[in-house]
Symmetry: C2
Subunit: 339 residues, 2 copies
């Protein structure tokens, strides 16, 4: 297993990325190919005592920042670490790719450098999100496509179902829900009405419309949404959890009694933090692309990168991309959405 | 001040509604007009020792449930308590109306029985939502209109700004943000692009695009959204907060040490629950309707109803509806959106 990692993507690049990649190499025994400025990578590793055993470097002089436009990865920033990593992935020099960098650029680069699976109309960002049940759900699309047509949502449903059925294992087929403003049939706008009927007739295990309120209670394994409202759902969950965790921190630092209380419930609070921490699930697969690409959170530290590398390897091993390609081939015109 | 209350709307009707109305009558000295089956109201009050002092009853035989379609309030359920309350409001028999019942029916009934403010194209559901700053923000629209045009978002911005500027007081003008998938200009789809430019040119205090993640950190006083993504944001916040509060309950009931810890931080935890409890803000104004209508949460208990009655009275007193009417009159064609 060889995972390519963008060493210059994300808020904590390159040090935390290098650290996370090194941890993955050591713990899982994977080969790693780090994309980015070779000299800086080697100097950073040496200065911080990070071993580069089992780690090769694909030199790339440029860096794409969070402020750069998505298309710049194909033009003025085509020499960046992210583009180099994607080219190596497309050339078969690695089994999967991980980046914590600019999401729009990653979607653009994956779509045009690695290419989509034949017959897939749009790549979708599909993070795994925490629930109270201890098992995550997949939200697809969480922001790659702000404007969607019903046929795109049907394809997201197929791709998400194939991925989560593999994740669940044990012969259980993933349940699919459609994000909507109410649970009754007929809720939502034209997009939801049409997508509802397409998914219902698709042969997937469809549970119907679901409300955002029920998502963190694990109402289904796959939640299908257009990229705009999916992105709102993802970020609202993150923001609300952040605010609440902040309030809880305050409660436990208010005085000696609360500090004592903290000691008494410390393990529980740590477990809570872990439960609500999306980085535990190792970043979001970019489904629909012809090779495994994982978007790690922009603020990923070493542990999150290590998890993302593990998820990327599992993504490659599971054969989901082959499944999607086969499903699109056999599904006929209703899932083969044109440009 | 006379507030009309739908005695048969919501999960806890009629007892909790009657209790909340009675508390409001006693604490604030308002007159209350309860709409609903008179005999059942009087029997329920007597059996539970609730005084109906300062409370009149507008008899209505029917009840509209959460499962009934919105339009049924104008047809087969036009004899329901909600419709009767709205008719009394339209006839000037009260200053404001509160219902915890079927949201779709309330929007439909308010629009066609009470009517919209002249020149307002759509009524919008505009809840106040909690933040870490201790002051709420208004989310408009949170679900009344799943399909929106840019001009509608501009009107929501105007109405929300007028309301929140009154709430803030002290001569501070409310800040308005546009819910989007990123903060940069040009993010989102056509709806967001066009709304961005309309709001920027509107003379409102516009802070630009805002991401859902930043909403609970009070990034602006008014957040403008189409009703679909606004509804997703509202419910995702509720669901995430519910899951987290559930986890916290578990932590504090895990054993004797955690129960001791609970005693030590009890006031802080109670304050946290209050901070994240949307019912503290007393339900959502339905902005754009010609008279004050407040939608209380479906699961409202007596305290939430009491708060909703207070907010309804403040809504009436503040003169926001007169302000909106004047703004629409003077704003010219760009805010006067046709059907």
């Amino acid at each position: 297993m060889k995972v390519i990692v963008d060493a210059f993507g994300g808020d904590n690049a390159p040090l935390e990325i290098i650290r996370g990649a090194a941890q993955a190499a050591r713990e899982y025994g994977y080969e790693i190919l780090l994309a980015g400025r070779e000299r800086e990578i080697r100097e950073t590793a040496e200065k911080n005592g990070v071993s580069l055993e089992n780690i090769a470097v694909a030199d790339a002089p440029g860096v794409i920042t969070m402020e750069d436009g998505p298309k710049s990865i194909l033009k003025e920033h085509k020499d960046c670490s992210m583009a180099e990593g994607l080219r190596r992935l497309a050339a078969g020099e690695g089994d999967a790719f991980v980046s914590a960098g600019n999401t729009g650029a990653l979607i653009m680069g994956a779509t045009f450098i690695v290419k989509r699976i034949r017959g897939v109309s749009r790549a979708a960002l599909a993070p795994l999100m925490p629930t109270n049940a201890g098992v995550p759900f997949m939200l697809i699309d969480a922001g790659a496509n702000v404007d969607c047509r019903p046929e795109m949502l049907l394809q997201f449903a197929h791709m998400g179902s194939l991925y989560m059925t593999k994740v669940l294992g044990g012969g259980r087929t993933a349940q699919v829900g459609l994000l909507n403003v109410g649970t009754e049939e007929g809720k939502g706008g034209d997009l939801q009405h049409d997508a509802y009927h397409l998914i219902r007739e698709s042969g997937l295990r469809f549970v119907g419309n679901v409300e955002a309120r029920d998502l963190p209670f694990h109402i289904a394994d796959v939640i299908v949404a257009d990229g705009f409202s999916g992105n709102v759902a993802l970020k609202m969950m993150e923001g609300t959890a952040d605010v609440l965790m902040g309030f809880i921190r305050e409660i436990f630092t208010a005085g000696w009694a609360s500090k004592l209380a903290y000691l008494l419930v410390k393990p529980g609070l740590r477990a809570l933090k872990r439960k609500m921490d999306t980085s535990e699930y190792g970043g979001a697969p970019l489904l629909g692309v012809a090779r495994p690409v994982i978007k790690a959170h922009g603020n990923s530290g070493a542990a999150a990168i290590k998890n993302a590398v593990r998820v990327a390897a599992e993504f490659s091993r599971a054969g989901v991309i082959e499944d999607i390609a086969a499903a699109v081939r056999s599904a006929g015109p209703e899932t083969a959405v044109g440009e």
